[in-house]
Symmetry: D2
Subunit: 391 residues, 4 copies
């Protein structure tokens, strides 16, 4: 309840949101729109929803966007909206990866806050420029590493920070899918096509699409920074142009070790994102497909099942909880939390207030970290599994 | 995606929604509002959110309702909204149980469609009058037995209807909680107070609050009608005024048997709604706390784990699915589906079209069935567990 | 390790064991023999393994029983073994139910300790006579309600006794199978044939075969005595002569309530014995198919997963544990514990020592209780679900 | 039932078994003895159970070994038993690792079959000599990689061999414990002491103790041979002399990839041995702590839960099954299967018959493979994670 019950909410006061990408047949566009609605902080007001003008208009109409705010290009949209007194305050970028950078730059320069899908960009250089630009413009910039929005992920992060695990020794992350087990991209599957195309996805396939989520989650929960990695990237499906399986050894600063495995060819796995963290005093385990649960063991005591909103829930999780324990919240609610945190940051910025330290979202720096991670893994694998230092 | 990707959606075309009850400190009011937003079919436009005028205004303001549409009484609201050209089209009733009937009657008579929390009313007589009134007025009337909105519940219903289980023999339903293990109502807990108060809840405590959900779910999935029941209601917590545990034997028309157990004092259970159905050819099991899974066994074959959106998903489930398999949907999405089905029905009614048979929601007749179930169980228990026939 | 590491064990000192029934094609005979061997307390020395003399001899030969101790009738065996200085000390009875009584009487009267499969007898009168005879002869008499041998069942019993659950309110037991979903007994299946034949099984089918296990387990863990029951027994498979599904309401002395459901037609269940107990202070849940785990929740605290041998294990469980936690023990080990407890009791009796209170096994009185339970349930069901008091 | 119901079994015909090591306070000795008894194929007849003569005698007495066959040294035992007409036929070696080699050689040279705990030896050179010696003597030699005895592991192996998974792409193995999270070896814990002592364990700690089990299991199920590995071994506990965590990248011959993670400091894990295998057509997952289950997904179909003895069980699993599905078998039964397969091989050898191809157990060659695996991992880690080819 914590989220809605605030004087910020309500239709009288929704933040005007624009969207680039996310037209008909997009998966992630619809997700962003639902996420933006759940806590009633945003109203979708403008869009450049597709590169094809006809489809852009049709998509906008379906979504109730006024005809004069259905744009054919993001440049046009940025210019027009920036000029309106009732122009959009925030833009969501849900295009294929290679367009993230240009769109984000355009809107930042137009003075509009940005919510950008991950990975931030397709090169480290471009990501570093983005970090600079965000600092220069002072705009809010959110990268939708959405799994950080789950309450039990926040609980895990708080428990690590509180020392419940002691000193961290092991961080193991997995993200397993099977939808690319066969060469789907060869049969006209739109999602498969762009995700396996280096010109649109960048140099990483599986590692960029889902490996970065696992990496971001590991960093988010543990607060650790990666020191070195060593990767073997594989392309199991013949004819595929990017990796579809990634196996990485990790050395974290401070001495922790770990492994990261991401796969899109692990038959029987739908969206198997899992994080396990072990320290000198305790261990915890979280599985995205059952996100309301968090397993915690204090060394020498029975394993505990912590639940969203149940006994032992910390304020860091409770402030993101909409319904009582036992009423499962899911992927969309976690995603919505990213939007709602973004709304809080935007309102603070608009009011000239300093950011509330309780408000947490993946930043442009986190986005840069993920791009560095992709680049390092690709480089290590190309060098037969050499250790690569993260700078 | 099926839900949003329709030309009905969008802010240009949202259904105007009013709400009675659901002000500050309400649990279920916030749930209804999120549910109404998720698929973008409704805009909350008016409310009589609390019986206290000051709290009613304050609650409305928080939710962005215009001041002139924040009413102090539902009668006033019905009258004023019915008179406006832009008046509400649908009202949501989220008050304590004893007020459902009067409010619903008032809005039906004002020509406004109704979404009403369960149980429909506190007496069978009042529920039967409601059925009559709905037939007479021709308005859409939805009772929020929300668990019928989960895709895998729809899948289960379709599988039973398709004959995948053969002839049904056994229907076992459970709904277990522990939040009333101690006498919470004596310490000022608002939710506990009205739910254990016969003047506000009606004659059933646990049976009305959660037993009816389990019963509705069993009927919804199997399509069976109850013939007779035999109940023992218990009040384990000293000083409590209504039952906190319910155990019922069931005889279904056609020969199936079953048991229903609902408890609010089963320590370690949060919201344990479970349905198990067994027939001559197969069996299925569904657990609300992990709602994206459905277990199915064809007799003599290995048990299968069916997932929302995964292999084997039927269209009856697929049409309600927003995100791919492995991305869990939860309680709010299931609740949202009830609202979205309601929107479809309302739009059809407004267009003078016959109802789409694919659109399914719990009706006023289902609401009546639940009230009969409460009354029969209370009566059976009062007669030391006599069999009571459902008429 | 606790079990083996005792000076009682070893081949020099094995208790001489005879067996009645359990020849070729018997399921439970082989189980008893393995159970008798696991902790090295017994040596199978004599047998009347089948009613057919040829099969009796052949079965004995396969099992390494000397030819002169392979008997054609149990009467002959009792007489001959009682007369030998190296005669058997204990007999195991693993025949169909209707023979339990005659065999047990014969061996008791011959001065031989008895381990008898359940149900003890097919009538209450016969069971009561057996209780008398055991008291008169002073022999050790063990009924193999084997599920009481699981360490986590002992843990649960100890926790209830220690007050960890507070005052017990609810006791729910289930035992679900699906192997009799079709009319297996009509196609020559030996196990199905005798278990559905009232002349060999007695008046109860499913209730005698598995319902009594669930009932015994509930009594064993909670220490409660049943006051009244109300049953509906069903025969779902056309042509079957005994019940294949049993649903029972329970009133326990002291005010606890509960339900018991046993079924052999619940498709998708293999051997689903489950016990759930809830009290004023805590709740616990145990599932036979994963017997090394016990779920425990203290009211208001996170749910705990207690494991066999893990943190929180009590001595009552630890004394029965052979391998460290995480190395699963199963059905045969639990069964073996019944034999090992029997061995301890027999050795104490032989030494003229009083029974060790730490040594626990299902007694002839427990066997009588199960037969009373069957009779009461059959009677209640025949009277359309009347409450029947347990005397 | 398949195991016992054979004319080989029975006390008249038990194989005479000796044991080296396994006296008081040994964990694994008791396990071997129970395993040897379960299917009634062996009788423990002689032992050199401890290096200390007093403890050796006392241990033997407890186990019912005749005083004149309780030896103070394995050399003495081998000589004396080989000279007796009723001498032992098989010896079990359950000493710390560094003694495996000398003992095994001595008994092989004395003409006695060997069942040897893993790892086979502490160096590759010694293991290679053992392979030679086994070939030369023609004796049966079994290494107790006991997890290969679980029926569902055999089922998995058969399914891979039958092509149910298509071409294997990914093989992921884990073995997680937490019992060495603190420096147990410094506080007099006997098991911890020798397992972390390079003079008794050899060059590998965690990798030798449990990593080899995971590796053996992966090889056993997939039938693949390892081509190269790359390892990072860690010692997280200060003062510990061997690794307590092992993370390895795997390249299998034929192109499959994989990871292996073994840890003894992963808090909350008891004995978490897990194997996951994914191919072009299907995937399977097995977890040792719930060993009666095997998850199998055929690409594009719902996930199936295969159970020991349930629908879909293959003969390769069924021949090792003692009780019906739903009655869990555990660690000791799996271990017993290794002994029973050994008994079959020994009887065939004694009868001069060729080995039955259905009889499967981990061989001396498998033992050599595990020692090579340890050596390669230690070497790779010492070289900062270089790829090391397995020869």
């Amino acid at each position: 309840m914590a989220i809605e019950a605030s004087s910020e909410a309500g239709s009288h006061n929704r933040i005007r949101l624009g969207m680039v990408g996310g037209g008909q047949a997009s998966f992630i566009g619809a997700v962003h729109r639902i996420a933006a609605r759940i806590d009633d902080q945003f109203e979708l007001t403008a869009g450049a929803l597709a590169s094809d003008p006809v489809r852009a208009k049709a998509s906008a109409k379906e979504l109730g966007i006024a005809n004069d705010r259905a744009y054919s290009s993001f440049e046009e949209m940025a210019k027009a909206e920036a000029a309106r007194p009732d122009g959009i305050e925030v833009v969501s970028i849900v295009t294929p990866n290679h367009v993230h950078g240009p769109v984000a730059r355009t809107f930042l320069e137009a003075g509009i806050h940005v919510i950008c899908d991950k990975p931030l960009t397709t090169t480290v250089a471009e990501a570093e420029e983005m970090v600079e630009l965000v600092r220069k413009t002072g705009k809010v910039f959110v990268v939708t590493h959405n799994y950080t929005g789950y309450p039990m992920v926040r609980q895990a992060r708080a428990m690590v920070a509180n020392g419940d695990l002691g000193e961290i020794r092991l961080v193991q992350a997995e993200y397993l899918q099977d939808w690319l087990t066969e060469r789907l991209e060869a049969s006209g599957h739109k999602q498969a096509a762009w995700r396996t195309d280096p010109t649109r996805s960048g140099p990483g396939g599986c590692i960029g699409d889902i490996g970065t989520h696992a990496y971001n989650l590991a960093c988010f929960v543990t607060g650790l920074q990666l020191d070195e990695l060593l990767a073997q990237l594989s392309t199991f499906v013949s004819g595929r142009r990017l990796d579809d399986d990634v196996q990485i050894l990790l050395k974290w600063k401070g001495g922790a070790k770990g492994m990261l495995w991401a796969s899109q060819v692990a038959v029987g796995n739908e969206n198997g994102l899992t994080l396990r963290v072990y320290g000198t005093k305790g261990g915890l385990e979280w599985v995205q497909e059952n996100p309301n649960h968090l397993w915690f063991t204090r060394y020498g005591q029975p394993k505990q099942l912590l639940t969203r909103g149940g006994a032992g829930a910390l304020v860091e999780a409770g402030r993101l909880t909409r319904v009582p324990s036992g009423h499962p919240e899911g992927y969309l609610e976690g995603f919505a939390t990213i939007y709602t945190e973004a709304a809080r940051a935007v309102r603070a910025a608009q009011a000239g207030k300093p950011p509330d330290p309780a408000v947490i979202f993946p930043t442009v720096e986190d986005g840069l970290a993920s791009v560095k991670f992709i680049e390092a893994a690709v480089s290590s694998s190309a060098n037969n599994g050499a250790w690569v230092r993260i700078t």
